[in-house]
């Protein structure tokens, strides 16, 4: 029984169905998402402490923030963290997923344990890592001492703290990438792999032409998600260093939080958040163009 209808009607009913499908998500996401975005923008145009009525000052916050060395540093720290974190977490996740994608005994347990850091709360992780990397009594320096390496400042050293946060972030974030990649890897048609090897493709070629394309959707998703996570990192900084030592780990969202809730400078904080949002927007538009080009050339 073929469904044959005039093209217009079909498109109309399709649009109707489409809207019906999209409506629940729309209502929740836009209803609860648009308002805050607009509210935040309005806040960024005001001098506000959230407690007393606000004053309009137009774009003055943005003017001041463009000259603020603390904010510039915060942006720098955030971009550095993101640039290091994102590629490493994706690569690490893929590598581990490939490692864990085999059927040997206990593989289920290995996979579960690799996921542990992602499940443990930020607070517990903060306590654990503060202990491990404590510069005088911590395990890390004890291990280094054993290898005759001089003790490091870690969280007391403003040149090391941010990189240390990248390491900890990687450790706790890679588990999620592993799970996602594993699920995608498992989904790859066994026949395709066998066909490829029958055709004489080596491991690398199989990976490049069979596996990698199949991982595209999840890779893109992970890239987007991890970039957003990295640009908006907060919890890790809050529980380990509070932006220190000497503001070396102050990232943009931490700066925002400080301004809003410690300095009673919420309008300024909103402006800072919007600058970050602008960066994100630029990045995503760039990605979109790249992908559209990519899709068109396929």
């Amino acid at each position: 029984m073929m469904r044959s209808r005039p093209a217009d009607l079909r498109r109309l009913s399709e649009a109707g169905t489409a809207w019906a499908y999209v409506m629940p998500a729309c209502v929740i996401i836009l209803g609860l998402g648009i308002l805050p975005v607009i509210w935040s923008f309005i806040l960024s145009l005001q001098v506000s402490d959230l407690i007393t009525p606000a004053e309009w000052i137009g774009f003055k916050n943005y003017e001041v923030i463009s000259r603020d060395p603390h904010f510039r540093n915060a942006v720098g720290h955030t971009l550095l963290y993101t640039a290091l974190f994102v590629p490493l977490v994706i690569a690490g996740g893929l590598g581990l997923a490939l490692l864990l994608n085999r059927r040997i005994r206990f593989i289920g347990i290995y996979r579960t344990l690799v996921f542990v850091p992602f499940v443990v709360s930020a607070t517990a992780q903060g306590v654990l890592f503060s202990f491990i990397f404590e510069s005088h009594f911590g395990v890390a320096n004890a291990v280094l001492r054993w290898f005759s390496i001089p003790p490091q400042g870690f969280f007391t050293d403003e040149h090391q703290a941010l990189y240390l946060l990248v390491v900890i972030g990687l450790w706790s974030g890679v588990g999620f990438c592993v799970v996602v990649f594993l699920a995608a890897l498992q989904d790859i048609q066994q026949e395709l792999v066998e066909a490829a090897s029958l055709d004489g493709a080596g491991r690398w070629a199989t990976f490049r032409y069979v596996v990698w394309p199949a991982l595209q959707p999840v890779t893109i998703f992970l890239l987007v998600w991890q970039t957003l996570q990295a640009l908006q990192v907060f919890d890790l900084v809050f529980v380990t260093t509070r932006g220190g030592p000497l503001e070396s780990t102050t990232v943009v969202v931490f700066f925002v939080w400080q301004q809003a809730f410690e300095q009673f400078n919420a309008g300024y904080a909103a402006a800072a958040a919007y600058v970050l949002a602008f960066v994100l927007l630029v990045l995503s538009i760039g990605v979109r163009f790249a992908r559209r080009r990519d899709a068109e050339t396929r």
């Binding site: 407690i51 380990t240 809730f261 300095q263």
Partner: protein, 445 residues
Amino acid sequence: MTARPASTGPTRRAFLRQGLGLATATGIGSLLSACGSDDDTTTGTTQDGNVTITMWHGQEDQGKETIDQIVTDFQAKNPKIKVEASSGGVLADSMLQKITTALSAGSYPDIAYIFGPDIANVSRSPKVANLQPYVTKPEVNWNDFYPAARDAVTVDGKVRGFPALVDNLCVAYNKKVFKDAGVPEPTAGWTWDQFVETARKLTNPGKGIFGTGWPAVGDEDCVWRIYPMIWDLGGAIVDASGKKVGFDNDSGLKALQTIHQLGAEKLVYPDTKPGSETMYQIFNSGKMGMVPTGPWQLPDFVDQKTDYGVVPLPSYSGNKVTIAGPDTWTVFDNGSARVKGAVTFLQFLTESTQDVKWATQAGSLPLRQSTANSTEWKQHVAKTAGLDVFSDALSYARTRPTIRTYPRLSQPLGQAIVKMLLNKGTPEDALRQAVQAANDALATG
């Protein structure tokens, strides 16, 4: 949409009703709100004059138990006032963030535990009650409260809450560490030079022992420790005009120099983990000789079975000087009936009989002079080593000013202190940068 006074409420509601197709949402909403508690915090008084007040006390464990007990006692005596006391979902540290959000949304409790340095900003809200008319009543006995406690809850001459807690800073020392190093225990009236010298003798890198410790996150616990030094040298936090800092001179410089000495010679353990817990753990493990601290830490020393002693803070001039960090029960305006109910409860809570319970059980110091003179308190002091030093220090402890711009001057000063602790830069540079940032903040008013 500007800031959120209650009058924009209905407009927002109307907008939501249309925009969200709220049939679904209200359906979900009423279903889900049934899953929660039935407490209604929006109406205050019922028909028969009963009042329900909510209190976010931010306490856990022992503090919570003490408050719960006091609430039960209060309700027995005042059946028309129901007190719903809970930690509010936060502990005292996170209370400010929650109250700020609550105030901006127009949904706030009647009483909340607000830190001293925060009340100046919080009370700028028109929703904070003015308790001036209540505290002049004789039954409150307002002047019985210690001056530090009274100052902490008074902003711009108006009283905004009741004192909740007082403490102050004295030096606790580990007797065993002193004995092992062969150093005589410190005594009252000692100087900062002697403090540094003692730290020098106690520090033993080979054994991993530090002379002293100092929080190095740059937060308030890091900063408030420098003020007694500044005050003793004749400086002030803010000068008379209120538009500039009062330590842009020798008082600030010398204080930072002392800290710099400690940091440069590695006599001090800089605690970079937020929460200031690590340095006490190190102290209790016998790896630190002495540490400035408050009475709240004594129960911990007792639990860890540390053999400790307490002496007052050292000074430069030989005068007695220390700082008190009082916290407040800030009262919010949810209608006059509820304000009155809240005041009645807080009056009860801070009366001598309850105050002594709070002080002895929850690890505070007496809020009132009459409490300090009571037998119960004296017995408690006799039982707890070192508590008498803290108790006596109440008479000469000073407090930070309750000004709105305080957080913005505290932060750069904190960074300056951290620089000294980590031995990065000179005291002159650190002071200059801190003063500049702080003056900028004060100038904006």
